[in-house]
């Protein structure tokens, strides 16, 4: 038997990954086939080494027969590295440019798509409270991962990050003292219940699910980077279909709609912060 060359191994792994993603889609209905392939490979190899599996085909087998194991793979695919008021300049610009327009609406609907563990939702809730908009807003927080959604609902975070979060809050134009919004308990901080009143949490998968309502603001920050171009295209169309005219799509600071077919539906509103506005006329 001739030992495979390393190039063959890389090629074979590509095939194994494709099959593994097919298996996940067929068995569990989660479609990762259009996620960015370099990212998917890293997530799979990481889980393989942590579990001590010999190869990707063995991992596929385990995924099919062990639901617990599949759940751990599922959380691998949902990247949950986030912070309160991440990219403070985004929140600062949002206050300056989007909030004055929202103030003219009698009611406001905001969708956090891919809300992860919720830091972004509570950041926006604090901002809305400070701007006097919270009570007329309904916030929808969705993610495909039920486990992080539960975390988001709790609003409890590790205390070790609080210094950084406070700095971010201040840089973003926060009007109060950040400590007013949480209680510290042991090694955690718990965000105030009053911030949760107008938030509805629900499972929603950007790959497979559709429009569920007409929004005034959609935030989807550092989610699209994990998708390939084709999937990004589909998701941006979903967002365009879910937005009222003249309303706002907010992406992550390194993301863009420019490669998508729906880019013609939008105009740049704050270019540097990737805030886009849906045009009134097509």
């Amino acid at each position: 038997m001739i030992k495979e060359t390393i190039e063959e191994k890389v090629e074979n792994q590509k095939i194994e990954i494709q099959l593994l993603l097919e298996a996940i889609n067929i068995k569990y209905g989660y479609d990762f086939r259009n996620y960015s392939s370099a990212h998917v490979k890293r997530r799979i190899l990481h889980r393989m080494s942590v579990t001590g599996l010999a190869n990707i085909s063995d991992m596929q087998h385990k995924i099919l027969y062990d639901k617990e194991f599949f759940n751990s793979v599922l959380s691998d695919f949902s990247i949950n590295v986030t912070e309160m008021f991440r990219d403070p300049s985004f929140y600062s610009e949002f206050r300056k440019t989007v909030v004055p327009i929202l103030k003219t609406y009698p009611f406001i609907r905001i969708w956090h798509a891919g809300c992860s563990t919720g830091e972004e939702i509570y950041s926006m809730a604090i901002l809305l409270k400070e701007e006097g908009l919270y009570d007329r807003t309904q916030i929808y927080a969705t993610d495909f991962n039920a486990i992080v959604l539960e975390k988001a609902k709790e609003g409890i975070y590790a205390i070790e990050n609080i210094k950084e979060y406070t700095y971010n809050y201040q840089q973003s134009g926060g009007k109060a003292s950040f400590a007013d919004y949480y209680i510290a308990q042991y090694d955690s901080v718990i965000f105030e219940n009053s911030l949760k009143k107008k938030i509805t949490f629900a499972e929603h998968n950007l790959v497979t699910d559709g429009v569920f309502g007409e929004m005034h603001v959609i935030l989807c920050r550092n989610v699209l980077i994990y998708f390939n171009k084709e999937l990004q295209n589909n998701v941006i169309k979903l967002f365009s279909d879910s937005l009222s005219k003249g309303c706002f799509l907010c992406l992550g600071s390194k993301e863009s709609i420019k490669f998508s077919a729906s880019s013609k539906d939008f105009e740049d509103f704050v270019t540097s912060e990737k805030i886009y506005r849906k045009k009134y006329l097509p």
Binding site: K41, R42, I79, V81, N222, I225, K254, S256
Partner: protein
């Protein structure tokens, strides 16, 4: 062998070291260059502007889903990992730090090795931790060329030392000699073989 792509990793002392390497390359340099320099998450793009002014080759911040083209040097943005996709585009992720770093040199080198294999040149420059050693090893495994700045004369020797400790690198060079080697390997417009 046609080398189409160069990946460079650096940390402490990297700004000057990278400038030295890029400065001698012509604007028609036939390969693309991907760079991870460990930066503070609050960096403001100074490095890109500074390098672009000092060098003839086009230096820019790597953009999400951008196609990798020769004659360009793409620098990983602060606080994102930079990856190479199978279709020769760039992608960014915000996964956890690797070797306490984001961007991580290992992640760039490993994903580039998977895509470019034998056509890749990997370079480790000055730095204060061991990020990049595993990535450089992977580049060598997949048939690429590996170059490390001489640890003895590097501003910060830990990174180059760590790299040579686990891989038989092809070249250990003084900083000033790296660009000459690159031009020799990649060729220029006068090279009849290209």
């Amino acid at each position: 062998m046609k080398y189409t792509t160069v990946v460079i990793g650096a940390s402490a002392g990297g700004l000057e070291a990278i400038r030295t390497v890029l400065m001698d390359l012509g604007e028609d340099f036939k390969a693309s260059i991907l760079i991870v320099q460990h930066l503070s998450p609050h960096s403001d793009g100074y490095m890109v502007r500074h390098l672009n002014k000092a060098c003839r080759i086009n230096v820019k911040e790597a953009e999400e889903k951008e196609k990798i083209l020769p004659g360009n040097a793409y620098i990983a943005p602060p606080n994102y990992h930079l990856l190479v996709e199978g279709d020769e585009t760039l992608s960014l992720t915000v996964e956890a730090k690797v070797n306490y770093a984001r961007p991580s040199i290992d992640i760039l080198f490993e994903t580039a090795a998977d895509v470019y294999g034998k056509n890749l040149i990997g370079i480790i420059l000055t730095g204060a931790n061991s990020d990049g050693s595993k990535g450089l090893k992977r580049i060598k495994e997949l048939g690429g060329i590996t170059i490390v700045q001489n640890p003895k004369t590097a501003e910060s020797d830990s990174m180059p030392s760590a790299a040579v400790a686990i891989t038989m690198v092809d070249y250990i060079l003084e900083l000033s000699k790296i660009s000459t080697k690159l031009i020799e390997l990649v060729g220029d417009k006068n090279d009849p073989n290209r």
